[in-house]
């Protein structure tokens, strides 16, 4: 299908397609459907949503009633269904999945029990309520005279509904239209590809998108009843040499800037710059491919991390340490303690470079009911709505922007209703005013069937207000390393980590001179956070969707969107990968 026919008007017209006549599907934990490679049917018709919102509300309130009837003093529940569509490309068929789940919490005399499940039917919810109450009663054996019982932080009772701002519903589009979206512009790239192929550089773009829709209901014995319809896209475009996945020490692959996770619908990918960004990445990668490769001496270097890599580094080091549950010591036996906790660190202390400001993303004002919308440009909002945006969090608290670190100073912790009341036990928590700082609002987040944790769905680091592009950052390096792409791994305790499967480019005199082979970057968390020297502007920002680890039994992996600008750090260790060649046993 010709790209030019994929106009926004056409998709707006198609989005008026209704899903009339769909019966509620049998209740399923998870169902996956393979879609044909060609079809004019709307995606949603291949696998219908499991529940209507009204049904979910009835189930939720019924579960709360069952918990109270069983003897709970308080209860809340999250339940819903989540639809994920991964379009196919070429001869590969797409995949549509529907996953259901519920998570029920009860409290009796301050003891909390949680039961999660994947099939929210009335009988199962009733059984879960009884099981949770029985568990809470049994755990009361562990309560002694010294046990501190913290009440839940009081929050206003809220009822209402909210829908994510989606103009063109991706599930209402046909399979053929999605295939055209994915493959659109392919012809336009041929010129770039063939030009570089003639120079001996074979590169190709690869795309994988994931459209997400979710209906989520929250209910509590306090009286709150909330329904939210969420949706977004995680769009990943990667250009690379054909064998880049096989490379261990000289990876040639590059994520395309501007393709990232956001709340919204198909309108997001209809931006005029979408395909231009892909071509720009191809050109950049092809230039890198023509550079010579070599080994750089191990040592400490000034390093520029691109936006997505920087986002991973901050998300895996700072976020877990800012969880108040961890600060309290409630994860000591699981992931460990927090390096940002009293008595070593207090709210008000300088904990990292003053160039770093980090926050929980609240809902942009224009999407909060009652606020006047901002001006739009070219049909798109001036600021993207973060992925996972919602009006209320999984504690039933209205979301709000929560600054965590401001210009290097720790200003807040991430607290939920369960931990907020324990603030008074950490004395002193603040080195300045003495007031506790852990506001509620958009913090609690859970996968369906998992306990809410202090893992907000979207966090971001503030970019520089003055112009500082990625090229500018590299030019200012002098002699150092530019990191493009890659994966950051930090150990569960947060003590340190490394960056691998990345492109390392040596910069000398502000110019990229070669690719570095056989090496990776390694860092100690506390040290690296103090060594931030420059941040890029908003153009350098990148977002990654990651699954944050929530320790417990079982472990949970709620999805979070991490956003950060590119940044320069000093004194980062460059180490060699293990040597190659035959391996021999030493004995």
């Amino acid at each position: 299908m010709n790209t030019s026919s994929l106009t926004r008007r056409r998709f707006l017209g198609q989005s008026s397609l209704t899903l009339a006549g769909l019966a509620v599907a049998p209740r399923l934990g998870a169902t996956v459907a393979a879609l044909p490679t060609r079809s004019t049917r709307a995606v949603a018709t291949f696998l219908r949503p499991a529940f209507e919102p009204e049904t979910l509300r009835t189930l939720a309130t019924g579960a709360i009633d069952a918990a109270l009837h069983a003897g709970a003093e308080w209860a809340d529940i999250r339940l819903g269904d989540r639809r994920v569509f991964r379009p196919g490309a070429g001869n590969l068929s797409g995949e549509l999945s529907v996953t259901c789940g519920f998570g029920l919490r009860v409290r009796i005399n301050g003891v909390e029990a949680f039961v999660g499940g994947i099939d929210p039917v009335p009988e199962r919810l009733r059984d879960a309520a009884q099981s949770a109450v029985a568990t809470a009663r049994e755990l009361a054996n562990a309560v002694s005279a010294e046990t501190q019982l913290f009440p839940l932080a009081p929050v206003p009772v809220v009822t209402g509904e909210w829908r994510a701002p989606i103009e063109i519903d991706p599930f209402a589009l046909s399979v053929d239209d999605h295939a055209a979206l994915l493959g659109g512009g392919g012809g336009a790239h041929d010129g770039v590809l063939s030009r570089w192929r003639r120079r001996g550089v074979g590169i190709a773009p690869g795309q994988w998108w994931e459209w997400v829709g979710e209906t989520r209901v929250f209910a509590s014995s306090d009286g709150s009843l909330l329904t939210q319809c969420l949706g977004g896209v995680d769009a990943n475009v990667l250009v690379g040499k054909s064998d880049w996945r096989l490379q261990r020490d000289d990876v040639l692959a590059l994520g395309v800037d501007g393709q990232h996770a956001q709340t919204g619908g198909v309108e997001l990918v209809l931006r005029p710059t979408w395909f231009a960004d892909i071509e720009a990445a191809m050109e950049e990668l092809a230039r890198y491919a023509t550079l010579p490769g070599g080994v750089l001496d191990v040592g400490r270097y000034a390093v520029v991390l691109d936006g997505p890599v920087h986002a991973q580094l901050l998300g895996q080091t700072l976020l877990p340490a800012l969880s108040f549950n961890r600060v309290l010591g409630n994860e000591l036996d699981l992931s460990g303690a927090s390096f940002l906790a009293p008595p070593d660190v207090h709210v008000g202390d300088q904990v990292c470079s003053p160039l770093l400001s980090y926050r929980v993303d609240g809902l942009p004002d224009e999407h909060v009911p009652g606020h006047r919308p901002n001006m739009y440009r070219e049909g798109m909002p001036l600021e993207g709505v973060p992925f996972g945006a919602r009006r209320w969090d999984d504690d039933g608290v209205p979301t709000t922007t929560v600054p965590l670190i401001e210009r290097g100073t720790l200003v807040n912790y991430l607290a939920s209703r369960a931990t907020h009341s324990a603030l008074a036990t950490i004395a002193p928590i603040s080195s300045t005013s003495g007031t506790v700082s852990a506001p509620l609002g958009g913090i609690a987040h859970a996968e369906l069937a998992s306990r809410p944790a202090e893992r907000p769905p979207s966090v971001s680091a503030e970019p520089a207000s003055s112009a500082m592009s990625l090229d500018d950052l590299a030019r200012h390096l002098g002699h150092g390393v530019l990191v493009r792409g890659g994966t950051v791994d930090v150990d569960p305790t947060g003590m340190g980590g490394y960056i691998y499967k990345q492109m390392l480019l040596e910069v000398r005199g502000g110019r990229i001179v070669r690719r570095i082979r056989g090496a990776r970057l390694q860092f100690s968390t506390k040290r690296v956070l103090r060594n931030l020297v420059t941040v890029g502007d908003a153009r350098t920002s990148g977002t990654v969707l990651q699954r944050s680890i929530v320790p417990g039994v079982p472990w949970a992996f709620p999805q979070q969107a991490w956003t950060a600008p590119a940044a320069q750090y000093r004194d980062v260790d460059l180490v060699l990968l293990p040597g190659f060649g035959p391996f021999s046993f030493g004995a």
Partner: protein
């Protein structure tokens, strides 16, 4: 299609009731007969010329955590219950689909299965790989070792044990200045496989439990950890766990930095078990591993079996009926897991392989040894310390990962501090290190071995990219071990 009318699915409702009413006699997972009923029902409903194999996994986990000690907080419980039915079908580029359901009536289950079947391409019969001579009829002749992995006492502990266990951990810290966090977890699981001929089945059931305690001083300068694991919940001793954790914390007060480098290392049984578990990949014939010689290019080339690869004191084996651990006597596809000696007196004896790889190679199919036992020796940890001129004692590792499969090189960190040993005595505690070693070389530098025991790995969360590691992990039985020239490459928290 009338077969289902004669099947009794009341067990599904009973299972749900078991969770709800939490009685001590409730089994909580499906029996063999119940799982077979379910699997046969599913198989009859699947369209197509071939009835694919069906697996039924029934599992329940009951856990509780509590901050204990000087700042005790109310406990929290978490229970997860799942019933999973799986069969292979064609789905895009994938090969199998999972239907996860807790439905407990036949009619709804039938609708679930029919709905899934309607969205999938009917499965085709498997075809023989060009490189194999596998005879599918062999599958019907499998027999399995008898194992005893189930303990009713663990089931009882799910409903009556968690609170008492946490209370016992807390009692040991009462009146002390230690802060701690205790975790208790119990699990039960059953696994059933019905092969495509509908006549061959494999069934296994197991229970497991673990209890751990981390303690630290108020200023965080001293930390200690201890854990126990056993399939029988009654074998766990919270007072002993607390005593060991406190003793470890007492030894780790005010650690100092030590110079990174190569030291003699005394590795606790937990640390050794972690290394052994991380090495499991290397036994597979398809792996790029130190068990392949430099000339190895493709499946079937000569490998290192028959060569001495480790110290002669190293013997590694797997026995599904191991009294200290054990595992299902079959792999996920029903292939039997025989008792296997992987390494005997340092000589590599066996490799692991799936059925399609094993048959053309003329070897017995075996799954990777994620559950393994290492023979021990006569030397206690105290004796190892006494004979150590300069070394580091390691309690356990964290974030242990293979960064080069070919050499088996791993990186990771020590955790909860280490102890510097000088002139046969513990000198003082030292801060954690980053390690960078190949255990394949470490097992060639063995100085002493102690008494093996089942290792408790604890509840440290897996890496963000690894969603397949779930507690409980298959048992590993390992001794403490003293080795020379262990590479503590850097301080973990260098400033």
């Amino acid at each position: 299609m009338c077969a289902h009318r004669s099947l009794d699915f009341s067990f599904l409702a009973r299972r749900a009731d078991a969770a709800a009413t939490a009685t001590t006699t409730s089994r909580r997972v499906l029996t063999r007969q119940e799982a077979e009923t379910l699997a046969k029902y599913v198989q009859t409903l699947i369209r197509g010329e071939w009835r694919p194999p069906v697996t039924v996994t029934s599992a329940v986990t009951a856990a509780a955590i509590q901050r204990v000690g000087a700042t005790s907080q109310a406990p929290q419980g978490a229970d997860v219950d799942e019933l999973r039915v799986t069969w292979p079908t064609l789905l895009g580029s994938y090969n199998s689909v999972n239907v996860d359901t807790n439905v407990h009536d036949a009619a709804t289950l039938r609708r679930v299965i029919e709905r899934v079947a309607a969205t999938q391409t009917p499965p085709r019969p498997p075809t023989l790989d060009d490189d194999t001579d596998a005879d599918p009829s062999l599958i019907s002749h499998f027999t399995y070792l008898p194992v005893a992995l189930w303990h009713d006492t663990t089931i009882a502990g799910m409903t009556q044990g968690r609170g008492a266990a946490l209370a016992a951990l807390h009692a040991s810290l009462r009146g002390t200045a230690w802060h701690g966090m205790g975790t208790v977890a119990l699990a039960a699981q059953s696994y059933f496989l019905l092969t495509d001929d509908g006549a061959t089945t494999a069934y296994g059931e197991m229970t497991d439990s673990e209890m751990s305690l981390s303690v630290r001083s108020a200023d965080g300068a001293a930390v200690g950890w201890s854990s126990q694991a056993h399939r029988n919940w009654q074998q766990l001793d919270p007072a002993h766990v607390a005593h060991e954790a406190i003793a470890a914390a007492e030894q780790h007060r005010n650690p100092v930095r030590a110079e990174p480098g190569r030291y003699t290392a005394i590795l606790s049984a937990t640390a050794v078990g972690q290394l052994l578990r991380a090495m499991a990949y290397a036994y597979n014939v398809r792996s790029d591993s130190p068990f392949n010689p430099p000339t190895y290019r493709k499946l079937g080339d000569r490998d290192r079996r028959g060569e001495r690869v480790f110290d002669p004191r190293i013997t590694l084996s797997t026995d599904p009926a191991d009294p200290d651990g054990g595992d299902y006597p079959f792999s996920d596809d029903g292939v039997p897991s025989p008792t296997t000696t992987w390494v005997a007196q340092g000589v590599l004896k066996a490799r692991s392989a799936g059925l399609d790889d094993a048959l053309p190679l003329g070897i017995t199919p075996r799954k990777n040894p994620v559950s393994i036992r290492m023979q021990g020796g006569p030397t206690s940890v105290d004796a190892m310390i006494a004979q150590c001129e300069r070394g580091i004692y390691v309690n356990r590792f964290v974030d242990l990962r293979v960064i080069d499969e070919h050499s088996g090189t791993m990186s990771g960190f020590t955790r909860d501090g280490c102890l510097l040993i000088q002139h046969g005595k513990i000198a003082h505690p030292v801060k954690d290190f980053r390690m960078f070693e190949s255990p394949f070389l470490v097992l060639n530098r063995v100085a002493a071995l102690g008494t093996p025991r089942r290792v408790a790995f604890g509840f440290i969360a897996p890496q963000a990219t690894d969603y397949h590691e779930h507690w409980p992990l298959p048992p590993v039985i390992a001794p403490p071990m003293m080795v020379t020239d262990f590479n503590f490459v850097a301080l973990a928290d260098a400033t």
